[in-house]
């Protein structure tokens, strides 16, 4: 996972995504607004429509205890056990395209720079 971090952060800097040392990446936080209605970023806050995205990078797919995942995502998890950078990128681009039948209602993020900024932001939250 760490090997993937360096190029991702560099890409985010190049895109002007970071606000400064110790601060959250601005573009990533803006990108997260498209997720905000259904996902929290606080650890353990899983009472929204979607599970918390705290620590999502590297986390097991469909594995938050007690969360009611769709059958489609559970099946997907059997073949794709972890939310790698690449997998999050593909899912954010087209959720229903990657996981047909997912209950997540999001049309996708076509701009790869926005997706990278989002992933960098989520990673910056720790977890």
């Amino acid at each position: 996972m760490k090997l993937l971090l360096a190029p991702l952060a560099a890409g985010a800097v190049a895109a002007g995504a970071w606000a400064g040392p110790g601060q959250k990446p601005i573009a990533g936080e803006q990108a997260f607004q498209k997720c905000y209605a259904c996902h929290a970023t606080e650890a353990g806050k899983n009472d929204l429509t979607g599970p918390s995205l705290h620590g999502i990078v590297g986390r097991r797919v469909a594995a938050v205890p007690g969360f009611d995942y769709s059958p489609a995502l559970k099946r997907f998890a059997a073949e794709n056990p972890h939310w790698t950078h690449a997998l999050i990128d593909r899912y954010a681009a087209d959720p229903e395209g990657l996981v047909p039948g997912t209950s997540m209602t999001f049309h996708g993020m076509p701009d790869p720079r926005e997706r990278q900024a989002l992933i960098a932001y989520l990673e910056s939250l720790g977890g």
Partner: protein, 322 residues
């Protein structure tokens, strides 16, 4: 604007669950690849409008000929909801453009009203017209608002509970109610001041997703988290709650047809259910394929439209012989 050939299939679907035996008259239309239909609405000329969310377009399906056209709505468009306004135009809540979009079917003119800059990304969801012809809308990131079609003036209000405003509907007397998925509430809007009064359903954290009114002005709510269908009677303030049949139901869309039959989709069962409040009887219409994911329902007398976001199809259910 492109024309597409379509796959057209008539099927007789079986019924399941605690349902009466019935083979509804249905027809399925395959939409252009990648359109990813979200919502539908009847158009004045008998065609069906749909939002092609992935392609930033308004689709027009002629169920008689099977012809489909798609009208691009603008850069970055990702339309979620569509309804027919009292002016006969399509009114679209466009999350991608963060705007309310109007399509005039006579002139094909498109008007785009972007939300004020200071509102930020609203995640626009659904719209409804009140009795005075004002268009009200919800934004899942925690807002609701209105636009006056005559002036284009937009007012945006914050939901008292923050994120979550989702479905919205008008009652026969022109009042507006919306529900909050994350806030788990119903709300009535004061059409003058714009203030929202929260009405708590009896089931905590139920995840009120969509709402529709019956002919008497009762509000029917689909509860995503609880799997319930609930009814609020404004005249008395009473609630009544029904659990959807089946295991772990997930109620998404709700609609009440002209006969006051309630339609509700259950993601867990991959089905659309009808419920007759007079008899308490449920019937089940299975999705055309696994993972159909019907996220909204609308229709006109004699017809109900089920947009399947998962299969990119529209199922037309004919409820009366013509």
């Amino acid at each position: 604007m492109r024309f597409f050939s379509i796959l057209l299939a008539s099927v007789a679907l079986g019924c399941a669950s605690a349902a009466s035996a019935q083979s509804p008259d249905t027809q399925i239309f395959q939409l252009p690849e990648g359109a990813r239909v979200h919502d539908v609405a009847p158009a004045p000329d008998g065609t069906i409008w749909y939002t092609a969310q992935r392609q930033g377009a308004l689709g027009i399906l002629d169920p008689k000929s099977g012809k489909i056209r798609q009208i691009p709505l603008g850069p970055n468009s990702a339309p979620h909801g569509v309804i027919q306004g009292p002016d006969g135009a399509a009114w679209i809540t466009d999350g991608g453009q963060n705007a309310i979009v109007r399509f005039d079917p006579k002139t094909e003119k498109i008007d785009v009203w972007k939300l004020p800059e200071e509102v930020g990304y609203a995640n626009l969801n659904t719209g409804a017209f009140d009795g005075d012809g004002i268009h009200w809308f919800t934004g899942q990131n925690g807002i609701y608002g209105r636009i006056d079609p005559k002036t284009g003036k937009i007012d945006v209000f914050k939901d008292p509970d923050g994120r979550g405003p989702y479905g919205i509907a008008a009652t026969p007397n022109g009042d507006i109610y919306y529900v909050s998925l994350a806030g788990s509430h119903l709300a009535k809007i004061d059409r003058v001041s714009g203030a929202a009064t929260i009405i708590e359903p009896p089931t905590p954290a139920q995840g009120a997703r969509r709402v529709w009114s019956d002919s008497k002005g009762n509000l029917w709510v689909s509860e995503w988290n609880s799997g319930n269908l609930s009814r609020y009677t404004p005249a008395t303030g009473e609630w009544k709650v029904w659990r959807l049949p089946g295991e772990k139901p997930k109620a998404y869309a709700v609609y009440v047809d002209e006969r006051d039959i309630v339609w509700v989709t259950d993601f867990a069962a991959n089905a659309t259910l009808t419920f007759d409040p007079a008899t308490g009887q449920w019937t089940t219409i299975k999705g055309s394929e696994e993972g159909a994911n019907v996220r909204q329902i609308l229709g006109r007398p004699g017809e109900v439209y089920l947009p399947e976001s998962g299969t990119n199809r529209i199922m037309v259910v004919r409820t009366s012989k013509k």
